[in-house]
Symmetry: C2
Subunit: 203 residues, 2 copies
DNA sequence: CCGTTAACGGCACCCGAGTTCCTTTAAGCT
DNA sequence: AGCTTAAAGGAACTCGGGTGCCGTTAACGG
């Protein structure tokens, strides 16, 4: 065998998959702060040493988990109407955050990002990918002249998610379908008013 | 002395103040996850036992710190124009979050809320108080007929903050004055469009 | 199929956060 | 001023998360 070769196949991949799944389970159950790598190793039926060697810290493990999550992107909607597309996006986000497992996972992952720069980077990449998936909805709306030319598509998508995350983390207000609807409508109204065009003012 | 009397005066109050200040310092330096109560005690020049007895956990200490922060509310703007009031609010939030000390403190406190129910409750009360301070801006705009009757004032204020917190925690995009401006304009545009009136549809 | 070695696994050790127990200080009442 | 006792302080102890060491397994190349 060539000296210094990496071995991502077979066992290593199996271990990684088992550990990441166990980590997600543990995060959902205990949350980020009470996560014990030894416990993760036990759940994954993997040596404690292995987890410490490959991931080192809780934040490092979460960062890898995020990279894994980023690879599975859910397809965007394409209803032919901006407001319907945005509503679909808002409901997808809302349902994800409300889901006990997914919601807890997202909270944990966001927490990790505030503690560790690698996790933060992974999180930013994750959202960049998610947003890129949905920007075509906005770009098509611009072409249909539903929105002013030069509208920043990514900013519109972010504006849909922001109020939902605000409810999840800060205000604690109910995260229901009505909230999702309002988030979509708010972003659409702001976009139509030209808030997200570069021409719009620093004034 | 009466049996069972509580003693909030003198020394106890001094200890509480010193510990809360030390806790804030430590949170800014290390962040929530690497916070050590023994370190807080050392900074506050207070017995380690005292900190453990009165606050017990990191999250409990942060919850108390938040209760303390909630008491100092900064006065709202009153420019006579909705968009200017909202812009003032957005810039206040933006500057707070960008400030190295305040920003780190907010991040830590939000993290604590995801880990501990007392901290979460304290955070919700904190934001409820901050929002209540600013809702009159929106109510006055309704009276001036800048906004439709029945507009949910709190929802408008939340809509201003949400994109800024989204940048702070999730996307990692720059949190500059332009972002603050857009947040204020977006909330105003959505409010004018009637997105935050109860009449507006679940449809 | 075989040799090399990257990667995993188990065990013993260490260290410091958190607890316990007791002593000392001073807040608050008379 | 004096007494009572809440509350703080100090020091010793525990115990489990994290580390180091070394033997074992199995991926990859020939």
């Amino acid at each position: 065998m060539t000296v210094g070769a990496i071995r991502p196949g077979g066992r290593t991949a199996r271990v990684r998959a088992a550990v990441l799944r166990a980590a997600a389970d543990a995060l959902v159950e205990h949350g980020f702060d009470r996560l014990d790598l030894a416990d993760v190793a036990r759940r994954a039926e993997v040596g404690k040493t292995t987890v410490y060697r490959r991931w080192g810290t809780v934040a490092g493990l979460v960062a890898d988990l995020l990279a894994d999550m980023a690879e599975q992107s859910s397809p965007r909607a394409d209803t032919g109407s901006l407001i319907e597309d945005l509503r679909a996006n808002a409901r997808l986000v809302q349902r994800t955050l409300v889901d006990p497992r997914q919601g807890a996972l997202f909270r944990a992952v966001i927490v990790a990002a505030t503690c560790d720069s690698r996790a933060a980077e992974a999180l930013h990449r994750f959202y960049a990918a998610r947003i890129a998936e949905w920007t075509p909805c906005v770009e098509q709306a611009v072409q249909r002249a539903e929105l002013p030319a030069g509208t920043d598509a990514a900013e519109v998508i972010r504006a849909v998610s922001a109020p939902l995350y605000y409810r999840l983390l800060m205000s604690g207000d109910p995260l229901d379908e009505a909230a999702a609807s309002r988030a979509a409508e708010g972003a659409a109204a702001a976009a139509r008013a030209g808030v997200y065009t570069p021409a719009n003012g620093r004034n």
